[in-house]
Structure formats: C-alpha cells, structure tokens
C-alpha cells in the first residue's frame, strides 16, 4: 500500500486523463449513433446492413484496431486521438443498435399522433421519439460507458496516457500495487460514471422513476383514509 500513498498524485492524474479521453469517446459515440440509428430505423433495408456491419466491427479486437487505425487515418500511433477514435468506433458499434431498437420501440400510434397534432419530423424526433426511446438509449449508453472506460486501458500497451500506463509500468518494474491500483481505479471510475448516467437519466426522464417516497407515503395515507 506504501506505493499507492506515495504515488497518489500520479494515480489521480492518470485517472483524470483516463476519464477525459473516455468521456470524449462516450459522448461522440452517442452523438454519431443518433443519426445512423435513425437512418437504419427509417430505411428498412439499411437496418440489416448497419446492424451487421456494427456487429462485425465490434468483433475486431481493440488492440489490433489501435495498431491498424493510424495506417488508414494517418495520425501518430501513440497519440490520444488514436485511442479516442478507436473507442468512439467501438462505442458507436454498440450504440447504433440501441438507438435503432429504442426508436423502433416507439409505438407507431404515438408517432402518428405527433404528426397529427402538427409536429414536423424534426420536432417529432427530438420531442417525441428520443424521449420515449430514452430508457433504451440510456441502457445502451451505460453499457458503452462502462466498456469504453475498461477498454481505454488497452491504450497503455502502446504508451497512450491513461490508467493503462499503470499496468505496463507496474509489469516492467514489478510493482504489484501499481497494477492493482490501476484495476481498482478503472472499476471505480466505471461505477462512478455509470451511477452518474443513472442520475442523469432520472433527472431528464422523470416519468421513468417510480413515485417518490413522499408521494408513496401520501398514497398510503389516502389509501388508509379510504
């Protein structure tokens, strides 16, 4: 444990970098998945193609992708951009399916009603379909967030900044505590981000949470009075 205390600053710094790189990738994959998932859902033949490509892409091993991507896109192997692009692509592969499934779960009747009361298709998408698909989107985003944070450690293998560096450094210098600290911080970070997403979901989609404690108590009182 001594190593951990004397290197707390180093660990914290790596954790923050890790959080920063993964957050960019998580947000980017959500933003990119929305139009693609929408198109996949709207144009029937596209759906199968998009989902198959996404599934096949997800089977590409992450570390191999990190090595091969720079040959295609042309930035440094050890640059942060390389990691962020790779993580975004993985997140996208997962998220596109959630978006397509979520939008498909919106009842056709509800969509038609929205059109009938005068929503344009843009308004309908943002005010009706996205909110109703919200729980499915959130579930997908939570999976993407946790796996992105865990996957980002792979960058450490080729020297990209983040918690993964604790693994390679700890192995080279035989510091067990360093590797253990890296594992623990990755899991803690994943759990914290996941919890934050759940809270955000409750704040943005108040209809998905059950009655609050006060409301339940009131309900019980009313029930008792009756």
């Amino acid at each position: 444990m001594n190593w951990v205390w004397s290197n707390a600053d180093f660990i914290l710094d790596k954790t923050l970098v890790h959080l920063q790189l993964s957050s960019i990738a998580i947000v980017a994959s959500l933003v990119l998945a929305l139009p693609i998932g929408w198109a996949a859902n709207r144009v029937a033949p596209l759906r199968g193609v998009v989902l198959t490509v996404a599934g096949l892409f997800y089977s590409v091993p992450s570390f191999a992708l990190l090595v091969v991507l720079p040959t295609i896109v042309g930035y440094g192997l050890r640059s942060d951009t390389n990691l962020v692009v790779a993580l975004t692509l993985y997140g996208l592969a997962l998220m596109v399916r959630s978006v397509a499934d979520g939008l498909a779960s919106v009842e056709p009747d509800v969509r038609q009603s929205a059109t009938a009361v005068g929503y344009s298709s843009w308004q309908r998408f943002w005010r009706v379909e996205v909110p109703l698909a919200g729980p499915v989107l959130l579930a997908g985003l939570r999976v993407v967030a946790v796996s992105t944070i865990s996957l980002a450690t792979v960058g450490g293998l080729i020297g990209i900044n983040g918690l993964g560096l604790l693994f390679t450094d700890g192995l080279q210098r035989y510091i067990l505590e360093e590797i253990a600290a890296g594992i623990v911080m990755t899991i803690v970070l994943a759990l914290l981000v996941d919890a934050a997403l759940v809270r955000l979901g409750r704040a943005l989609m108040p209809w998905t949470r059950g009655p609050s404690r006060a409301e339940r108590r009131q309900g019980a009182l009313v029930g008792a009075a009756a």
Partner: protein, 245 residues
C-alpha cells in the same frame, strides 16, 4: 495505405510461414488459448447458468457478475496474475477464463429464460419429468442463445489473447509486441491484421452455427407476418352512444 501493403507482403513472405515463430504456429497458439479458456469457462458456466435459468434463483448475482466483469480491465488482470504466478501460459489462461465466464453464463441462463413458460407447462402437462424438461425442451430451445454467449466469449478471448505475448506466452500478439519494441511498424500491423482476420472468421463461423442450431420446429411455426399489431383496441366500429346518458 503503404503500411497495409507492406504488412500483407510480410504475411505472405515464406520466411514467416514456417518454423516455431511462423504464422501457422502463432495462429495455432492463439486459437488454443481461446478454445481452452472458453472450454474451461463453459464447464463452470453452463451448468451454473442452466441451474439459474431453470430455477430462476441467483439471477441477481449472475446479472451483477456479468455487468461487473465488463468494467474489469483484462490487461490489468493478465499482468497482475503474471506478477503473482510468474511468466508462462497459466496466468493468462486463468485471466481469459475469468473473462469468458460471464458471457457463457449469460447465454446459458438467458437461453432458458427465453423459453416460453407455456411451452414448459405443456411439457409438464404431457408428463415429462423435470430432467426431461431440461434435457428435451429447455436445452434445445436455449441453444441459439447459449451459442451466442459462447460466441461473444470467444471474441473477447481472441481479442485479449494478444496480451499473452507481453508476459511471454506466445500467440499472435508476439508479432505486435516485438514490432512495438523494435519500432518495426510493418510487423505490428501484420500481427494486428492476423488477429483481426482470426476474429472475423470465428465470428462468421459462430454466426452460422447459431442459425443452424435453431430447432426445426421453431422455424417451422414462425408466423410470416411479424409486424406488431396496433396497441389500442379499435372501438370505432361501434357507434358512439350520444345523448343517452
């Protein structure tokens, strides 16, 4: 794109196709890791998953386990075990088994849970024993989802088995990490392309297997029109009773 072509040339170079460091040997090692780890994981996870799926008990633990392992960085686990147990192929295999268990477990119990309860009631009503229900109803009907679980476990292990090379345990990662140490980018790309090829071939093989194991009776009875019916019941064919109240 130049590196791409050079890497392809590297792969087809006869010098890299034979010997203990040749591509066939490394691919073999890589596949061996995958098969051994997934087989060991299946021995533990399939019976456990079936027990959870059949009884419905312990589901919460299984779900938490599946989610929890997703957050676990496998690279760290492989390195940690290597430091604890020494260099060799045992620590990576243990790490890969840990990695593979949740997917197989999820496939096994999800397969059982996906079986329609009325089908099981029907089997019971026909006089099947509990053992027969498991062996003749739940296992065959749950097979596609189980294969799906094994498929994702395989893919995860193929991806992670690259890391075994860092702790001196061979596999296709050997090329990547050797290239990394000696700044031989062509060799790195070649190794990566081989890993990607292995993963995609496995993915396709399993996708086909998953279709083949669907019992004939299930596909035969599938309705051709699977569009969801309208959610509200139509009431318009009855005239509104106006002014009668």
């Amino acid at each position: 794109m130049n590196f791409f072509l050079e890497a392809l040339a590297w792969i087809v170079d006869p010098a890299h196709l034979s010997g203990p460091d040749g591509i066939p040997v490394r691919v073999g090692e890589h596949l061996l890791y995958t098969v051994v780890a997934v087989a060991l994981a299946s021995v533990v996870a399939i019976p456990a998953g079936y027990a959870i799926g059949h009884t419905g008990k312990g589901r919460t633990i299984a779900v938490a386990l599946t989610g929890g392992v997703r957050a676990l960085p496998t690279v760290g686990l492989v390195f940690l075990l290597a430091l604890l147990m020494g260099i060799g192929s045992t620590p990576p295999v243990i790490a890969f088994v840990v990695l593979a268990i949740p997917s197989v477990l999820a496939g096994a119990y999800a397969g059982f849970e996906a079986v329609d309860r009325t089908t099981i009631d029907a089997a019971r009503a026909m006089g099947m024993t509990e053992r027969q229900i498991v062996a003749q109803v739940e296992v065959p009907l749950g097979l596609p989802l189980l294969i799906g679980g094994i498929r994702s476990a395989m893919l995860q292990v193929v991806a992670t088995a690259t890391v075994a090379a860092v702790v001196g345990a061979g596999g296709l990662g050997t090329y990547i990490f050797r290239g990394l140490r000696s700044n031989d980018y062509v060799q790195m790309v070649a190794g990566s392309m081989l890993v990607i090829a292995v993963a995609i071939v496995l993915e396709i093989v399993f996708a086909i297997a998953q279709r083949l194991v669907v019992p004939a009776g299930v596909t035969a009875g599938r309705p051709s029109d699977s569009r969801a019916p309208a959610s509200r019941t139509r009431t318009t064919n009855e005239p509104l009773q106006e002014g009668t109240q």
